[in-house]
């Protein structure tokens, strides 16, 4: 007992050694070297991330591209390093932020291709050379540089090309990041998208854009999920060993952004309701962002319904195998169920996406449905099994004594009784499944959560999209609960009405 207490105390001391934050003093930070000892938010896996890791001594806060500014604004990091062009285009002043220094890792960026796909790469390079010579390139870049937030990009953004017979569709992996790639009026646009659409129109490729995390782009390219990386990726030695870079089409560097030294955010005199109205307009109405949300909701609902179906089927199969009287069937089934229940769903999802279905052109949605089907199939299967096992053996014997067949006893006697025990437990699992779909953004599916992430990365408003998404999920869970309760009532009355 004494030893146990000692171990417990030691564990508590170890646990409480979690880090604390310091108060910022940012006045004399003027170069990358000075960032040592400060917390800096960067996009995970990006070149700034690698640079800071190499410097050492910097407290690196790795986030998604769209969350960097919010992290600084909310004091989650003292600095963030972001693309300097982007920093200029975003209105930093009004958010109480400032650009401290820039031209970090100045360099050029291009599109990325698979090493084995040099034909496509050289085709793209030819196109780039062509527009440089004709002057179209300069016109294109000037137009974009001159455009401000309010300008109608659509006027010069080229639409996606129609599918032509004989040409394969190009799958392009992107990271949503204003002003290179972003959604306006629920359509993907931005500097790079515009350029690539022009190329595809000339070369006659239909295009399919898929949204990934930046750090997932190269694995996705190399495992054949996508054909092109279009994410103003800077050329580094380490990357160039993995993928084929096109000729550069954009120059840039990073800018370090922090809170303004003496500045507090200019709080407008508007009341709470006013601000909510403003948020509502900004996050939903402007550029038809609500469409992104409704699309996301639709994806969430579709994935949930399909996954529940898949999981029920998988669950029935697993339950049947697990309950088999032959050890040679039941023990492997038990092993698989334990395996599936022992690994986080997120890890299973990524394993399925990047390893199992790496080279197949199956979409993220179907990989998700399969992963969820398997994972929750294991849970559902156990629920079914406990339900079936709770039916007294005497019930079976009674059925047989009445001269019923095996299936008939199952169908008429065992199942109705088991169902009345299964459904209440299943209800919780189904709602858990629906909520769990919020992680599918990891495999390039734009669901409700990811949609709000995209909006967040554009409006840099942390509050409204998140609250909205929570409310929608709560509604979904509530509606599902109601539906299942109705089902439960029907099932129970059915078994009673004998």
């Amino acid at each position: 007992m004494k030893r146990l207490r000692f171990v417990l105390i030691a564990a508590l001391m170890w646990l409480s050694s979690c880090g604390e934050r310091k108060t910022p003093d940012l006045t004399d930070v003027n170069s990358v070297e000075d960032l040592k000892g400060h917390s800096v938010a960067v996009a995970m896996g990006g070149s700034f991330d690698l640079m800071l890791s190499d410097i050492g001594g910097v407290d690196i806060v790795r986030l998604g591209v769209g969350e960097l500014l919010v992290a600084v604004e909310k004091g989650r990091a003292e600095f963030c390093i972001m693309d300097q062009f982007q920093a200029v285009m975003l209105n930093l002043e009004s958010r109480g932020l400032e650009m401290k220094f820039k031209d970090i890792l100045k360099g050029t960026a291009g599109a990325g291709f698979r090493k084995s796909d040099s034909l496509l790469c050289s085709q793209f390079n030819d196109y780039l050379r062509g527009i440089r010579v004709s002057g179209e390139y300069d016109r294109w870049l000037d137009e974009w540089k001159a455009s401000s937030d309010s300008m109608a990009y659509a006027s010069f953004a080229v639409p996606v090309h129609e599918k032509e017979p004989g040409k394969r569709a190009l799958h392009v992996g992107i990271t949503v990041n204003y002003p290179y790639l972003f959604l306006k009026d629920n359509r993907l646009t931005g500097i790079e998208v515009d350029l690539f659409n022009r190329f595809c129109q000339e070369a006659g490729y239909p295009v399919d854009y898929e949204i990934y995390d930046f750090s997932a782009l190269i694995p996705a390219l190399n495992s054949g999920k996508i054909d092109v990386i279009l994410s103003h990726m800077r050329r580094t030695e380490e990357r160039a060993r993995q993928i084929l870079f096109s000729d550069p089409y954009i120059e840039g560097g990073g800018a370090a952004v922090c809170r303004r030294a003496n500045g507090t955010v200019a709080v407008s005199g508007a009341g709470f309701m006013e601000r909510m109205k403003e948020s509502f307009r900004n996050n939903l109405m402007e550029e038809q962002r609500w469409k992104l949300m409704t699309d996301g909701l639709w994806v969430t609902v579709r994935i949930s319904v399909l996954s529940i179906l898949a999981a029920v089927i998988a669950g029935i199969v697993m339950c049947r195998l697990r309950m088999s009287r032959r050890r040679i069937v039941s023990s492997p089934a038990g092993f698989v169920i334990d395996l599936l229940r022992g690994i986080p769903l997120l890890v299973i999802l990524m394993l399925m996406f990047y390893v199992v279905f790496a080279s197949s052109r199956i979409t993220g949605t179907w990989v998700t449905v399969m992963s969820f089907g398997l994972y929750y199939g294991a849970y559902f299967g156990e629920v079914f099994r406990t339900g079936m096992e709770s039916v007294d053996k005497g019930q079976w014997e009674a059925g047989w004594a009445l001269g019923m067949g095996r299936f008939q006893v199952f169908r008429k006697i065992a199942l109705p009784q088991a169902l009345s025990r299964i459904i209440p437990v299943l209800k919780g699992e189904v709602i858990a499944l629906i909520k769990m779909t919020s992680v599918v953004g990891y495999v390039a599916v734009v669901d409700l959560t990811k949609a709000s992430d995209i909006i967040r990365s554009r409006t840099l408003d942390a509050f409204f999209p998140l609250i909205l998404v929570s409310v929608v999920y709560i509604l979904l869970a509530w509606l599902t609960g109601l539906g299942l309760k109705a089902l439960e009532r029907r099932m129970v009355s059915k078994s009673r009405g004998l």
């Binding site: 190399n222 394993l351 929570s470 709560i474």
Partner: protein, 227 residues
């Protein structure tokens, strides 16, 4: 095959001491998991007590809280705490994650505790009181041991769910096991090995936890105890 594996181990773990990332990640995962289990259990017990033995309004508050927590995705709650509710606090992301998991799972735990305690026959209470035990002694000596046999198996499953759920804390810049795998992947661009390794470590963790809780279950079962 073997040389490929050796190459993978070298480039993903040994070079630049990348295995340190994994062990640091594992430490963070364990920290969050252990603290959350601890806090969520305590909070769950309190919620359960309030829900079962207190005034109407407090009971309704707890009911609402539980319903709310069971309806909102964990990831969304985490982001809400990180960017909205605790945005201006000086709490480190690690503690925000712990807080989030504690709040979320306390709702589940409290329901598990409640159904366990309610599963004990009322007659047991009356028997305890009739023997002259105080209500508190009755609870500790008579009700709880019986309830625990019902609670532990479900509690075990939920605890394992908690440990696995910690894989999302990478979203708020805590480098846990999953994120460490991601980080290595972002440097080596090897999709296969880090993921498999992470999966194996989680599996090991949950298996160990399952074994530990099985032991606990056996020890707590009054039927296996010598009287």
């Amino acid at each position: 095959m073997m040389s490929g594996l050796r190459e993978s181990i070298y480039s993903n773990l040994l070079i630049e001491d990348r295995w340190l990332m994994m062990t640091d990640g594992l430490a963070n995962t364990l920290r969050v998991a252990l603290w959350s289990v601890l806090l969520a259990t305590m909070l769950g017990a309190i919620l359960c007590a309030v829900r079962m033995y207190s005034r109407n309004w407090a009971r309704n508050c707890v009911k609402l809280y539980v319903e709310l927590m069971r309806a909102i995705p964990l990831l969304v709650l985490l982001l809400l705490l990180f960017y909205v509710i605790l945005a201006d606090s000086s709490l480190s992301p690690l503690w925000i994650a712990i807080l989030c998991f504690s709040l979320y799972f306390s709702a589940y735990f409290s329901e598990i505790f409640r159904s366990g305690i309610e599963g004990v026959n009322r007659g047991q209470w009356e028997a305890g009181l009739a023997l002259g035990l105080t209500p508190w002694r009755t609870f500790i000596k008579v009700i709880l041991p019986q309830a625990l046999t019902k609670i532990i198996p479900v509690y075990k499953g939920q605890m394992i769910t908690l440990v696995k759920s910690t894989s999302i804390i990478g979203y708020v810049a805590v480098v846990d096991l999953t994120k460490a795998g991601d980080l290595i992947r972002s440097r080596t661009f090897d999709a296969f090995f880090p993921l498999l390794l992470v999966a194996a470590v989680y599996l090991l963790l949950t298996l160990l936890l399952g074994l530990l809780l099985d032991l606990l279950e056996k020890r707590l079962n009054p039927k296996s105890r010598k009287i």
